[in-house]
Point group: D2
Chain length 145, copies 4
């Protein structure tokens, strides 16, 4: 699982600058900030394929994170322009996995994934609605290709 | 308002250590961390007088912050032992003000206040329940004296 | 001081979306997140006038925050598009004040200011270099007008 | 690696309460907060065996995180009392792994690990000083047993 197959073409790119609050006393970005950046990456991907997560919650579905893996190769610094490359790695009926690579303008910083389950308003694990399931399933071939 | 009268005896003390994630690239604690520390101070005060904020929310009351002021005099660093001194500065029927001083073992770091209103589950401004109003009103004379 | 004169034309606009990590259990953005957004606002302003803060630090000057004021009028929610309007309110030889207004697409959310001093690598209060002083001084008439 | 051997007796316990700022709009603790809690856990462990991380940095050694894994089983909520169980899982000459379990008073919330390398002031990977290497190596048998 940790060796992710990274799609070269079908992925969503999110770009922003490092905030000062995200740095720490080592002078680099704190390792926990990358989890928020993963989140920005998958938010953007969802919006691009027509299913913003804010809408999904309004329809009573939630995607809590059940697993995170993050491998840190290089450090980002304050004000760096950062690019998050996000893709959908696996989709099952009740869970799915996003893959990520994070870069600054010079090099690869971080690779990782987040695993999510689908729950309803009562916190019960539930199936992805069919249209979402298909949108995720066809993500790399259809919508961002 | 900014010149707070600081009660010498009737206040609540909260002690903890600075986390690495709270520091920034200047090598000191980021100025936004103190707002979370104010929050810990008033949480502790509420618990001590028998009204933990988690219970207040369960009863359908919420205390959103409507104003923050923070004056930074000295910097905290990673692993410093920090003490938040919290008191109730003003209580009205629908709003109240907490005052704070934050110290490390050597000096005063920050003074400030937060102003809160009381809202209900529908987000409407509402009166503090009588028992809470009295507990806050009598805070300095009765409960922590 | 709290009644800021808000320049109608000479200010810098910064736009982004609310991150999930910035929300709290009230379902809205946590009040401490706005301080990070102020920071993004002044970072953007500095870059626009040719003095990115990352460069300023490389030259041995730092702008620690000595005072924050924030008045919360309305709440932002997850995924809201947020706009930070930033301007330079006062410039002195060793300190300056940024003013801010934060909006989502519907309304004004927050007004506030941050006060900063200028220090050098040894933490000693120092004068703004002349070119920076002038750039800040002429901010509203020259560069973003 | 993901199946950690959890030492039943030789570990360090760290206890604190969930802050409001750590919650998100799902009403639970945001998944990134657990990384800060891991950090608190290993800070505490280091202090207990006589090598606080703040001292280690003063001697010119830094422990950046090179890998994080986190498996989320249950959610913590605001004001929960949380316990982080931390242990040293592996020690090599230039890197080591901490293991973690996080509980509230009712159940296991999260298991995970962080992998660290040792670098010096110039950012170069370096060997753990002998006394630190031994302290980590003997952690479970000697110092907290």
């Amino acid at each position: 699982m940790k060796k992710l197959n990274i799609p070269q073409t079908h992925n969503s790119l999110t770009k922003f600058r490092v905030r000062y609050v995200e740095t720490d006393a080592m002078g680099i970005v704190h390792h926990s900030a990358y989890l928020a950046w993963f989140e920005m990456g998958r938010a953007d991907l969802g919006r691009k394929i027509g299913f913003p997560y804010s809408d999904i919650e309004k329809h009573g579905f939630y995607y809590p994170v059940t697993e995170v893996f993050c491998s840190y190769k290089n450090s980002a610094c304050y004000d760096d322009e950062v690019i998050v490359k996000t893709w959908i790695h696996t989709v099952r009926s009740r869970s799915f996995i996003f893959g990520y690579e994070i870069y600054n303008l010079e090099r690869l910083l971080v690779t990782g994934y987040t695993k999510h389950i689908v729950i309803n308003r009562n916190g019960k694990v539930t199936r992805l609605p069919e249209n979402l399931f298909l949108a995720y399933k066809n993500f790399d071939t259809d919508l961002l290709g």
